[in-house]
């Protein structure tokens, strides 16, 4: 025993340090944090049946099918679940304890093998186990990755041994170790493959010095043998991934590069994780590198220099430099290499941030530092100073790494190192959910908790996840304010068809989780809680208002649970499936179908089989209007829709609400009129007619200004112009008001200025530069206008107004400037409260504009003082503001006019003229629209919109931005705008006048040689400051056209348009080019017309449809009493490889039941639809399958019974792969067993020979 301890003292030391450092993890308590979750045994049990399809959430291809040993959805976790153990136990055996035991032991053997030194081994083990990368990673719950890197190290160790000894057993062990590495985290396998590749080449060329190509080929084949074995072991998931296409593209690989600002060469050199604080870690907060961390690279490279003749040490020098280069991401040097590799190198896009490459630095520093220590211990053996220094340096090295364990030992690091406890409410909910036998889903708002129960029969859905994936298209078009995540989450509940969506998604319960602060799991902070401390209550309040959800009491107040009574079974039959030409305006389409066609809301989007039976095609001809559809010369719109083959009963539904109201000033009269919009024509033949009716009119009194009041909005009647009355005003009143005598003396400055001298309204020092004059060349009324100038301080002038009475008044004035951003005034009353009314008006161009505002004059006020300003900006520019034509007068009500209620959602049904043409050409004429482009100089033919490029991210004083006109790269005219940004974001803006509530078609062309996105921003000046902005992804260098329908918010009169070039790494000049901007006002025809093309087939549901859920990839469907064709829906995410098969001999039997080489009788792919844009549906044609092919059982009443199977076909490839992988695994284990016995026998023989 003593001998054993002495022999393995360093190994035992490495092991002991690991145990001490991680002593908190030795208990069976629950340790969970961020990415490392907790799973009840009911959840775990199902993982043992691992499949190509994951039933979690709405269902998806199992992209983590390779994860069979560890991880939340792995086979081994499933086995623990079947033993009746929750994940706190499986975690210990499969992840946490392997880390504690193996991190020190594997790295010790690995480093000792290279340095041939015990002290080297212990130093290497400390470097490997206690560096800030692994400790930070473990703290964040990324333990699978850490353990994977241990097995990656073991794989490399075995591979090195294999290359030396060339034994089959070592090849087997290497492949098994690689297989385990992959099953923990696939990215670590990618990195270790890179190391093995480089080592093989290095071994061939530098170590073995082989230059003969025949020998190189032979050696390469030998070296490849562990890799070939590994491939055979992994074939079970490779076949599935190839078959489903997830190997090349999946949610993990499709993420964009992240965290460029976190990583740099200094951090990677010093092996310092940027978020490491030496205490509790704040993720994404970068810390300074402590001084002593710089000793790490110095010791490491001293090891390299001192051991330069050691080929293996030199190899680790190479690996360290590769690691540093990659782990710095976009840091210098060669900052653009990582993004290039990310875009172009196969598999590299699994590394959206570079931290995983720290492993290369860790493994190489372990060897290099150990080599340095080993050199010291071998060379500094004599002399007191040398011996002392040797101990001191070794101690310093060990201290640097062991000191990192302090926050773990003390517990101050928190997160994964603190035991957690399941709140009682989740246990009650678990029992409540699991006791119900039927299939349903639970939706968690805003997202699921780590304690949320789920099984294959009771999947859980995170509200934010489903809103951003399966439901994204359905929600996006209806979202009013998707910028706020909480709105994005709750808006889905307010969709008119939300209950239908929840029903078809089989969501029975909606749960609001706890703000679990005790367990450090308050994720509400990420979903609106950062600004609203009562965000959970806000979510509950929102859900309380949803009529189709009923709050229920499950016996706990911790969780708030709502029941959706109308939820549907996961497999059902239905009869009408609508096909839309776009998924925009789904609210209107739902309303149309609900009120006019009277059936359930089942639909498909753009489908290649849309023109075929049996879909009911619903087309809104003007919904996706292109710019080419606007004929501005003839003032009409053109839309071409394809006619449906063989259908003669197409109907056009015309919305009855198409009356629009407007006010008009004819010069003699003030009128309120209504018209029914424009004229719709099909091939020049009118389908409806335009008509204007007068609702009210009144004769004008001379010299009186009339106003139309809609709610709080006030608009002046101007002769010849019309005022649109907003739809929101329907069934309410508008008022016509008139002004009275102007109370401002000298309102147009025809008698001079109001005061002799200009006032200084910001006299913070004694150096004002101000001016006031009368401008005679620029005036909006009369001969002259007031001109205020300010270079320093603010210029102002004032006039007194005598107030006859309190009440409602109107203040109007005209303002103009060629260089000021705003015109402002300040009105102060002399009432007791000293009421003041300040306001500013934005200036968007050099034209005169008119400001109008209601003013409620307070009781007791007898006079008011009006100030107007010119405000200095930079102490250099002479800001000039001009004012004219002031008016302040009391308003009197002339008349209130009732606007009648419109019938919303009702349509008239119209037959279309008979025609043999395959395309229908609709035109729409509306004399109220001229279809002129609102943007002047939209193609930049007259130069840029502004003289200087804007800085839209001025976080410091060092922008590097450019703006120019490019005559070579353009999409329209002779030149295009080119914005360049190296630091900060370049932007260009333009202010545009728009009509409140108007609809516009906005389009522009964009291109870039090096940006990954273009961007625009539209900011309106309405009360809510509505914003529409988007980042438009760029994947090539060609020009693209962006087009969007925009509804101007009520009350908005001006929109600011911005376009951008966003800097990336502070070094590359990102160029974005824009051209051909158009904003054209168009009539709102989003729900005006629907062309319904019905196949004319009467469908009926079968008498009954029942099902058995065999596993996530297989469901048996029993259909009884089908008399006509019908649709079958399945509530799993759409995937083209889901098949609806007939349950017969073709898929039964020893082989046919699992091999992928069968050809089952099934519903054709042309009748497999993406139901509601995210689920599966099939059209079962009883005529074709039952009558013609006898695949059904005919009943006495003539109806049919059909036995069917819904199968995810790639599962069969999984079975085949499993057979190959399993055989290889058994072969490897068998050989290792045989080899082991052989060795033992040989050892026994030797012992026997020795003893005799």
């Amino acid at each position: 025993m003593k001998e054993f301890f002495y022999k393995y003292k360093y190994l035992l030391l490495a092991f002991s340090i690991s145990i001490i450092a991680n002593f908190r993890w030795l208990s069976l308590s629950i340790f969970t944090s961020s990415d490392h979750g907790f799973y009840f045994l009911d959840t775990l049990k199902e993982f043992s049946l691992f499949n190509a399809w994951s039933a979690l959430g709405m269902g998806s291809v199992n992209v983590l099918i390779w994860r069979i040993i560890a991880g939340p959805d792995s086979l081994m976790y499933g086995l623990f679940g079947n033993l009746g153990l929750d994940s706190n136990v499986s975690d210990k055996f499969l992840v946490i304890w392997p880390w504690i035991v193996l991190s020190g032991v594997v790295s010790y053997f690995f480093v000792r093998n290279i340095t041939k030194s015990e002290i080297g081994g212990i130093v290497g083990a400390c470097v490997f186990s206690f560096n800030t990368y692994f400790l930070s990673s473990n703290r964040a719950g990324h333990l699978l990755l850490s353990v994977a890197f241990i097995f990656a190290t073991l794989s490399f160790f075995l591979f090195m041994k294999f290359l030396k000894e060339r034994k089959i057993s070592l090849a087997c062990l290497t492949s098994l170790s690689l297989f385990i590495t992959a099953s923990y985290d696939f990215r670590s396998l990618y990195i270790v493959f890179g190391i093995l590749f480089f080592y093989s080449i290095y071994h061939l060329i530098v170590v073995n010095e082989i230059l003969e190509y025949k020998k190189i080929i032979k050696d390469t084949l030998v070296m490849s043998s562990p890799i070939i074995l590994f491939c055979a072991l992994s074939i079970f998931w490779v076949l599935v991934s190839l078959n489903t296409g997830t190997l090349a593209e999946n949610s993990i690989l499709n993420r964009s590069l992240f965290g460029n600002s976190f990583w740099n060469i200094q951090n990677t050199f010093t092996l310092f994780h940027p978020f490491w604080s030496g205490s509790a870690i704040s993720w994404f907060v970068v810390h300074d590198i402590p001084f002593y961390f710089w000793l790490i690279p110095i010791f490491a490279y001293l090891g390299l220099i001192l051991n330069r003749k050691n080929r293996e040490v030199v190899f680790f020098g190479i690996i360290s430099l590769i690691g540093i280069f990659l782990a710095k991401q976009v840091g210098e040097p060669f900052h653009s290499t990582y993004p290039w590799l990310y875009e172009h190198f196969p598999g590299f896009n699994a590394f959206r941030e570079a931290s995983k490459f720290y492993f290369l630095v860790i493994i190489s520093y372990s060897v290099l530092i150990a080599s340095f220590v080993n050199w010291l211990w071998e060379n500094w053996t004599s002399g007191r100073i040398k011996v002392f220094s040797k101990y001191l340096i070794t101690g310093v090295i060990l201290f640097i790494f062991l000191w990192n364990t302090k926050p773990i030992i003390t517990g101050e690091i928190d997160s994964m190192f603190i035991p957690r406890h399941i709140p009682q409410g989740y246990l009650i909910l678990k029992d409540f959910i699991l006791k119900q036998p039927e299939y349903f889903r639970t939706l968690w708002v805003p997202r699921d908790s780590r304690w949320s129960i789920y099984t294959g029969q009771k999947p859980k859905i995170s509200s934010i996840a489903v809103t951003d994936s399966e439901w994204k298209k359905l929600v996006e078009n209806n979202n009013e304010d998707i910028k706020l995540v909480q709105n994005r989450i709750t808006n889905v509940f307010r969709l008119p068809f939300a209950d239908k969506l929840f029903d078809v998604s089989s969501i029975k319960y909606v749960v609001v989780p706890l703000q679990d602060i005790e367990n450090s799991d308050d994720f509400f902070a990420d979903y609106g809680g950062d600004k609203n401390p009562n965000i959970r209550q806000w979510y509950i309040d929102q859900l309380d208002n949803i009529s189709w959800l009923k709050k229920i009491d499950i016996g706990t107040k911790d969780l708030v649970v709502y029941e959706n009574k109308g939820y549907k079974e996961p497999i059902l039959a239905f009869t009408e499936l609508y096909n839309f030409n776009s998924l925009d305006n789904l609210d209107s389409k739902y309303s149309f179908i609900n009120k006019n066609l009277g059936s359930d809301f089942y639909f498909t989007g753009i489908d290649k089989n849309a023109n075929k039976s049996p879909l009911v095609k619903i087309t809104n001809p003007f919904e996706n209007l292109a710019m080419s559809g606007i004929i501005s010369d003839g003032n009409y719109l053109v839309a071409i829709t394809s006619s449906t083959e063989g259908r003669s009963n197409d109907m056009l539904y015309i919305h009855k609400k198409s009356l629009s109201f407007f006010g008009a000033d004819t010069g003699k009269e003030i009128q309120i009129n209504a018209n029914n919009g424009g004229i719709l024509k099909l091939k020049s033949q009118s389908i409806n007619s335009a008509d204007t009716q007068n609702i009210f009119s009144i004769s004008k009194v001379p010299h009186t200004q009339y106003y139309l009041q809609q709610g709080s909005e006030l608009t002046a009647f101007i002769k010849g112009n019309t005022i649109d009355i907003a739809d929101s005003t329907m069934d309410s009143k508008v008022a016509i008001l008139a002004d009275s005598a102007n109370l401002i003396r000298n309102p147009s400055f025809e008698d001079g200025t109001w005061q002799d001298k200009v006032g200084d309204c910001n006299n913070f020092d004694a150096n004002p530069v101000l001016g006031m004059s009368l401008s005679s060349d620029v005036a909006s009324e009369g001969k002259q206008a007031l001109q205020l100038e300010a270079t320093r301080h603010n210029a102002c002038t004032t006039t007194k107004i005598a107030i006859p009475d309190f009440g409602k008044y109107i203040l109007t004035f005209d303002y103009q400037s060629s260089n000021a951003k705003q015109a402002s005034f300040y009105l102060a009353f002399n009432d007791k409260e000293k009421t003041v009314v300040p306001d500013t008006a934005k200036i968007t161009d050099a034209e005169w504009s008119t400001y109008r505002r209601f003013i409620n004059v307070p009781y007791g006020a007898t006079s008011a003082t009006l100030y107007v300003y010119a405000e200095a900006v930079d102490n250099k520019t002479n800001i000039i503001n001009r004012y004219d034509n002031f008016s302040f007068s009391k308003l009197r009500a002339v008349r209130e006019v009732n606007i009648p209620k419109q019938t919303i959602g009702e349509y008239s049904k119209n037959s279309l003229p008979k025609s043999n043409d395959t395309s229908l050409i609709f035109t729409y004429e509306d004399k109220n629209f001229d279809y002129e482009n609102t943007i002047d100089n939209g193609s930049f033919e007259e130069g840029t919109w502004q003289e200087k490029v804007g800085d839209c991210n001025n976080h410091d004083k060092n922008p590097i931005l450019r703006m120019s006109l490019n005559t070579e790269e353009k999409s329209d005219g002779a030149q295009a705008l080119q914005l360049g940004a190296t630091r900060h974001n370049a932007c260009l803006s333009k202010g545009l006048k728009v009509n409140s509530g108007g609809h516009y078609l906005f389009s522009f062309d964009y291109q870039s040689p090096n940006a990954d996105h273009a961007g625009y921003y539209l900011g309106f000046n309405d009360k809510d400051k509505t914003i529409i902005s988007e980042r438009l992804t760029l994947k090539d260098k060609s020009w693209h056209t962006f087009i969007k329908n925009i509804k101007v918010p009520e009350g908005a009169t001006v929109v600011s348009l911005f376009v951008y070039a966003d800097a990336t790494d502070g070094k590359t000049n990102i160029l974005n080019r824009y051209d051909n901007f158009k904003i054209i006002e168009v009539p709102d025809l989003s729900d005006a017309y629907y062309l319904v093309s019905d196949p004319g087939i009467k469908l009926e549901k079968p008498k009954s449809i029942t099902f058995d859920l065999i596993n996530p990839t297989k469901k048996l469907v029993h259909i009884k009493g089908a008399t006509t064709p019908f649709y079958v829906a399945m509530s799993e995410s759409y995937h083209p490889q889901w098949q609806l098969q007939f349950d017969n001999a073709k898929i039964h039997g020893v082989f046919n039941s699992w091999t992928p080489f069968v050809k089952p009788e099934r519903v054709g792919d042309e009748y497999h639809y993406k139901l509601n844009d995210f689920l599966n549906a099939w059209y079962v044609d009883t005529e074709a399958y039952c009558v013609n092919n006898s695949l059904c059982v005919k009943n006495a009443d003539g109806s049919y019974d059909i036995e069917m199977v819904i199968e995810f076909f790639p599962q069969r490839w999984f079975y085949l792969g499993l057979l190959i992988s399993g055989t290889t695994l058994l072969g490897c284990i068998g050989y290792l067993g045989y080899d082991g016995i052989k060795r033992l026998r040989r050892k026994g023989d030797k012992k026997y020979e020795k003893n005799n």
Partner: protein, 141 residues
């Protein structure tokens, strides 16, 4: 360390470098041409770094000199950071990286030329006998 402060040692080193440059003129011409091209296309920094690397590669000078240069630049980083010279520290780290790349490449070249040891970690064992000039690599006759 004693050698570094020994004037004679420096003089002998300089003489050897001078001798290399004057006796191996062809290499010098190649070096100058390549460096000039790099300087012209990639700038002064790249030119100087390549000049350093190629002269060590072509004249087979001791790669540890560049290794020490790398360590010196690395050592400067924490001091520069403590004086808030972050940009300069970043630049020095980049230079350290370049020097280390040079060191490793020169080491591999040396291993290919001279052979080495596999994992003993004892460099004295593999050092070839008869090398009297510790700061210079094997000489051509």
């Amino acid at each position: 360390m004693k050698k570094i402060i020994n004037k004679k040692w420096w003089m002998s080193l300089l003489r050897l470098i001078q001798k290399d440059i004057t006796t191996k003129k062809k290499r010098g011409v190649v070096l100058l041409l390549v460096v000039a091209l790099i300087w012209f296309y990639l700038g002064m920094n790249a030119g100087l770094l390549w000049a350093l690397f190629l002269s060590f590669a072509l004249y087979q000078w001791e790669n540890r000199i560049i290794g020490v240069l790398a360590l010196a630049t690395l050592v400067s980083c924490p001091f520069l950071l403590s004086f808030k010279q972050d940009a300069l520290a970043e630049q020095m780290a980049v230079y350290a990286y370049y020097f280390l790349v040079m060191t490793v490449v020169l080491q591999i070249m040396e291993l290919r030329r001279e052979g080495g040891d596999e994992g003993s970690g004892v460099i004295q064992q593999t050092r070839k006998p008869g090398r009297s000039k510790p700061w210079l690599g094997p000489r051509e006759g």
